[in-house]
Symmetry: C2
Subunit: 362 residues, 2 copies
């Protein structure tokens, strides 16, 4: 399908084209900030200072949420985190230390704590129209005959924290259309049954050749397909209004390109991320201890600008895998996952390349 | 003097033009990393982990310094800070917590601590050729007569941490040329007699109408001239090989421009910087408590990207003043110093505008 806008487009729609879908009306999303639950926690703990942390896309709402909370309280000081935030693994621990109650918006809990209130902020986008379109990519259901329940085609179902509130409905919806829906919770890094993170696809380890991913973007289904190469991963993206099938070929080529460019490196920067849920200390120190040309560099945000000042020939990122695999091409030097590093230095064969994932909390 | 390159330039030199000065040979500077002192501290404290922090311009040297230290020790783990660093006020406290000894390179001590080794890294650029040129901008000395010592013209002398190792020689050099050289230490934020920081010019509060600043860049002398508007500030810049006189007019216009643009703001982001030596908590909270349209935002690095996600109409920076006054124009919304904020909201008159400075340590 052409990527160009076509004024006379028929049934073809480009990814993100929300015209004639009814969905464009929903672009002005409303969120439930669960103010009552926050106020309860403030009163229960008699909090004098409260920290508020939002992911990047929702930071703009912070002043209004602070206004609402100020109206509902008396003499409580609200502090808004200005640190970048990309997940429940990425809590502003500095602000947490400074406050009596710390509210983390936009992600589901990674680890319960007495001080942290997680407010997940579920999307109110309707996933069913795009799931309807995605049926074409799922196994055929024998609609004519009255086949046995045991013969129904199996389909795995996963989604992101944002759409988790509709997971039960999605499950039922697929069952009604004749599928045996396979789901599981994954490991303790994941809060919910069927939930995936950019760094954890354990919930897709189900007894089904096809997995339906309902959610925004291509990064999650790509990771899922890399982590489970035997599975057919269908994308129903209700945010960009597009159906697709995860294709790992381009991704794998990009990763091998980075590995090959790093093979000549004389010096390695080994990045240890100090964010609370993104540190893999053993992994980072083991690399440095076994390579005299490797240097341990610690930081919270891992950005191209920050690495530009160091003169290493290549980098290994033991922090968030998304930085390596999604932002990787933005760095001026090759940036590898720990597994890719082992290939580049010759400790592991080329065909051992796989997606970098995180398990456990902290 | 024209800012354009002139192939047939005679005696005119553009700032930064190091041709025919002999100084271009010195561009490959050597630094003394004081490895012996670091090794002594490691042995004395029987340290297992050592943190190394370099300012931005010297981060490239970090792997080589780590190599040298590894050769001189046995079984010690060296961690390099990847956090941006812009001064002795800007210690990587996260890395400090994780290490037994913490070495901060490139700045003079702001506050002594048992764990921190400060290695100042003095420049080996020769300041005297450019000081010779700067004599033209200093008060005339009566070289013909044999005037009394008490009649010698007074000149204040200040420099940055980088050139502090030559301060005594500079002092003598000026005295030999007939000046009464006035210097003082300033307050406890400053380590040395005659030292200035971008945020502190207390050492220039001397009994002399003319102050000679020896050092790189225009930011320090500009701050000095703003902080001491009654003084004539002469710049002898041995790094860029240029003599100049600090002119605050353009700077003041830029600041008033920001203040005026901020006067219509309906919402204010009040930035509290969490860096150890850059926090002004009382100042930040006082603003928020007296303005219901002000929101307290906490972060370590204050960058245009980080503020872009917040929807405030204007910002007040209670952290490093250089961010406001030097980087200010890069932000998408007006960014004011705390003093400028008071003008913008009408609490102080327009003519109260002054340079934002920091006093004390933490």
């Amino acid at each position: 399908m052409s990527q160009d806008a076509r004024g006379d487009a028929g049934t073809d729609k480009r990814p993100g084209d929300l015209r004639r879908t009814g969905m464009s009306l929903k672009s002005d999303r409303e969120w439930d900030y669960e103010l009552d639950r926050i106020i309860d926690a403030i009163e229960e703990r008699d909090a004098a200072t409260v920290g508020l942390q939002f992911p990047e896309g929702l930071k703009r709402r912070a002043p209004k949420v602070a206004d609402d909370l100020r109206q509902l309280t008396d003499g409580v000081r609200f502090l808004i985190s200005g640190q970048p935030c990309y997940g429940a693994c990425d809590l502003d621990t500095e602000l947490m230390r400074r406050t009596d109650v710390f509210v983390h918006f936009g992600h589901s809990p990674m680890k319960e704590s007495d001080k942290i209130i997680y407010v997940p902020l579920f999307s109110n986008v309707d996933p069913f129209p795009i799931m309807e379109e995605a049926l074409e990519e799922l196994p055929d259901v024998d609609t004519a005959g009255d086949s046995d329940v045991d013969d129904r085609p199996a389909v795995g179902l996963v989604t992101t924290a944002q759409h988790m509130n509709k997971f039960g409905e999605m499950h039922e919806w697929l069952e009604e259309r004749g599928y045996a829906v396979e789901t599981r919770r994954g490991d303790e890094r994941l809060t919910h049954e069927g939930q995936v993170l950019g760094c954890n696809y354990a919930s897709a380890d189900v007894d089904a050749e096809t997995v339906l991913y309902v959610g925004g973007g291509k990064f999650h289904p790509l990771g899922l397909a890399m982590e489970h190469p035997d599975k057919h991963v269908v994308i129903a993206d209700p945010v960009n209004n597009v159906v697709d099938v995860a294709d790992t070929e381009k991704f794998i080529k990009q990763r091998y390109g980075a590995v090959h460019r790093a093979m000549d490196a004389d010096s390695w920067g080994v990045l240890y991320c100090t964010k609370i849920g993104q540190g893999r200390w053993e992994m980072a120190t083991e690399i440095v201890e076994n390579n005299e040309n490797a240097y341990l560099i610690t930081m919270d945000e891992i950005t191209p600008d920050r690495l530009r000042n160091f003169g290493c020939d290549a980098y290994v990122n033991t922090g968030c895998p998304r930085i390596t695999t999604d932002d990787g091409p933005q760095f001026h030097k090759p940036m590898l996952t720990p597994g890719e590093y082992e290939i580049a230095v010759g400790n592991e064969p080329l065909d051992s390349l796989e997606f970098d994932t995180f398990h456990g909390t902290w």
